[in-house]
Symmetry: C2
Subunit: 358 residues, 2 copies
Amino acid sequence: MDEQQDLTRPRGSRRNTIRDVAARAGVSVATVSRVLAGNYPVSADTRARVVRAVTELDYVVNAHARSLAGVGTEAVAILLDDITGPSFAHIARGVEEEASARERLCLVCTTHGDPERELALVDLLRQQRAAAVILVGGAHDLAEYQVRMARFSRSLEAAGSRLVLVGRPRLDSDASATVVDYDNEGGAFAMTSHLLSAGHRRILTLPGAEGLTTALGRLAGYRRALRAHGVTEDPGLVMRGPYSRTFGQLAVREALARDTSFTAVFAGTDMVASGALEGLREAGIDVPGEVSLAGYDDIPLATDLHPKLTTVHVPYEEMGRTAVRLALARRDRELDDHVVLGTHVVVRRSVRSPGQQV
Amino acid sequence: MDEQQDLTRPRGSRRNTIRDVAARAGVSVATVSRVLAGNYPVSADTRARVVRAVTELDYVVNAHARSLAGVGTEAVAILLDDITGPSFAHIARGVEEEASARERLCLVCTTHGDPERELALVDLLRQQRAAAVILVGGAHDLAEYQVRMARFSRSLEAAGSRLVLVGRPRLDSDASATVVDYDNEGGAFAMTSHLLSAGHRRILTLPGAEGLTTALGRLAGYRRALRAHGVTEDPGLVMRGPYSRTFGQLAVREALARDTSFTAVFAGTDMVASGALEGLREAGIDVPGEVSLAGYDDIPLATDLHPKLTTVHVPYEEMGRTAVRLALARRDRELDDHVVLGTHVVVRRSVRSPGQQV
DNA sequence: CTGAAAGCGCTAACAA
DNA sequence: TTGTTAGCGCTTTCAG
C-alpha cells in the first residue's frame, strides 16, 4: 500500500516516465513504447508485465514528447470574439465535436474583436503547431482584412498549421486558406421574399453595422428581393447599427418616432429582433398582429421569444464541423477548399400578412 | 524576393528550427535561444543579426520542444457538458479570460454528460500536462462522484495537473482538489424569501432533477425559507424534472391541470422559467398580473423574456476566473482551496405581490 | 559574450 | 521478440 504511494510519485515529485515503467517491468523503453502503441508484436508475457507496471505507476505518456518525436496529434484551435455569443457558441460546438471525433483537443481563444490580440493568438497557436486555426466572424475593413489574412495564412502554413476562415470572405491573393461560409445573402433574400409574399411592402431592415461583411450580405439580399418583387427601396427603412439587443430596441423606437409606416421589421440577427420586439411592445404594438418581425441566425432565443420568431436558419454547428473536416482532410488528398452551406427560412409565429394584421 | 520565399519553407517543407536561425545568423543555437528568451546578455550586434534571421525565416519556437525542455507554460483545460449552455458558456468565458491574462491557452472539452468521455478526456489532458483541469456542473450520484473525483485528483496530481471543481461538491476524502462554488442554497433561500415577503404563500417550485446536487441545494433553500416564514410546505407544489425549457412548460401545464392554486412559480433555472412562462401564457395567465415567476442563474435570456425575469444571479464568469486563479496560484504559496461565491436576487418585472395581482 | 554538449520523454530505425 | 541508439527542437549548465 505504502509502496504504491511511493511509486505514484517517486522521490522529489518527479513525474514517472517511460523509463520508470521500463525499469519496473524489466524491459527496455522501446518495448514499453511498443506495447503502448500496440502496433508491434510483443510477447503476451512481456506485455502483461508492462501493462501492470503502467497501472502501478499510473503512467501517462507525455504528449509534448510525443509531438516532438513526430507522432503527436496536434490540437485544433478556434478564435472567436466571445464564447458567449450564441452563434459563436454553436460554431465552437461543431468544431469541438468534430475535433474530438477525430481524437483532437480543441483550443478556444477569444479576441474580443481586438486585432492585437488576434495577432498574438495566431502566433501562440503557431508555436503550438495547431493542426488548424479557425477564425470566425465577419470582417470589417476588407482591404486590411485581405492583407492580414494573407499574412496569417503564410505564417501558419510555414509552421505547419492550416488557416480556416468561417463566415468570413475568402482570400483573393494567392495565399491559401480553407473557407467555410453560408449563403448569407441568399438567406436575406429568402426572408425578404417571404415577407414580400405575405404582402408586406414597407419593411424596416436592420442589417447590421456599416462596413461589416455580414451586414453587407444581408442588406444585399434584402435589396435584391425588393428589386425582384418590383418594389422600390425607401432608404429611410434601412437603419444601420451593431448586432445588439439595445440597437434593435432603439432603432425601432426611433423609426416609430419618425412615423415610418412599416408593416414588418427584418432584423439583422435574432438578438436585434429581440430588441426590436421590445421596442414594438413598449409602443403598444402587437407582433404579429400589427407589425411582423423576422430575425436572422436561428439561435435558441428565437423560440424563447413570444411570439416565436420567424428567422433565417444558419447551420452554425455544421459550419464548425465542416471547418475541422476540411482542414484535416486537406493533409491527405487535395479537397474542396471553399464550401458554402445553405440557409433557409424557418417559419414560426412572428410573421403574418398585413391583411390578417389588425 | 524569390529568396524570401525559399527561406520561409526550405526544401521538403521542413519547418524552420532554431538551428536554421542560428545558421543564418552565423551564431550558435544557444545564442539564438538567449536572444529569444531575452534573459541573458547578448551583444547588440549579435542580437540584431539573430532578430533579422528570425524575421526572415518567419521562425516560431516549437512549444512542445519548449515544454519538454522544461520551460513550457501548460494550458488550462475546462470540461463541460455543452459549450452551448449559457451558464457553462459564461464559466468558460471567465476561464478563458483569466487563462489568457496569464498567457495560457485554454482547452475546452465537452462531455455531453458521458462519464466514459469524461474519463477519456481527463486522461488526454493528463497526457498534455494541463496546468489545471476544471470540471464544471452539478453531480448526480454523490458516492460514485466522490470516488471518481478522488481518482481523478490523484492521477492528475501525478501528472502535474491540478483538479478544479466548479459548482460541484467538495471532496471529502484526503484527495485534494481546488473547489469553487456559489451559494446555491442561499440564493434559493433569498429568492423564496423575496417571494414570501411579497405575500406569496403557495409557491410552485421546479428545483431540478432528482439527485442532482444543484437541485438539492435549490430545494433546500426553498424549504428553509418556507420554514423561516412559518409556512408549511405543500409537497404537491414541488415538481422535479430536468433543467429544460420543455420541462418548465409541461410542469406548469400539469400543475394547472391539477388546479393547484399557486400564486407564484420559482423555476430551478431561467431556462425552466422560460418554459414555465410559456405554459402560463398558453393558459391565458398573465405574468406577473396573475402569477409571479422567478428564475435562477441570471443568464442573458432573463432580460429577453417578457416580462423581464426576476432571478438569482450566479457569478458564473467570476467562478471561471477564480478557478484559474486558484489553480495557478497554488503552485507557489498554499492558498485557499475552497471558495464559495455569493449569489443574490436580481429584481426585475416578473414578480408582484398577490395583492397587486389582478 | 558565445559555443559545445547534455538532457527533457518518446519513437523508430537498426541490430541482435 | 527485444534492446540500443539516434534524433525531434529547445534550454541550460559548463567551458571558453
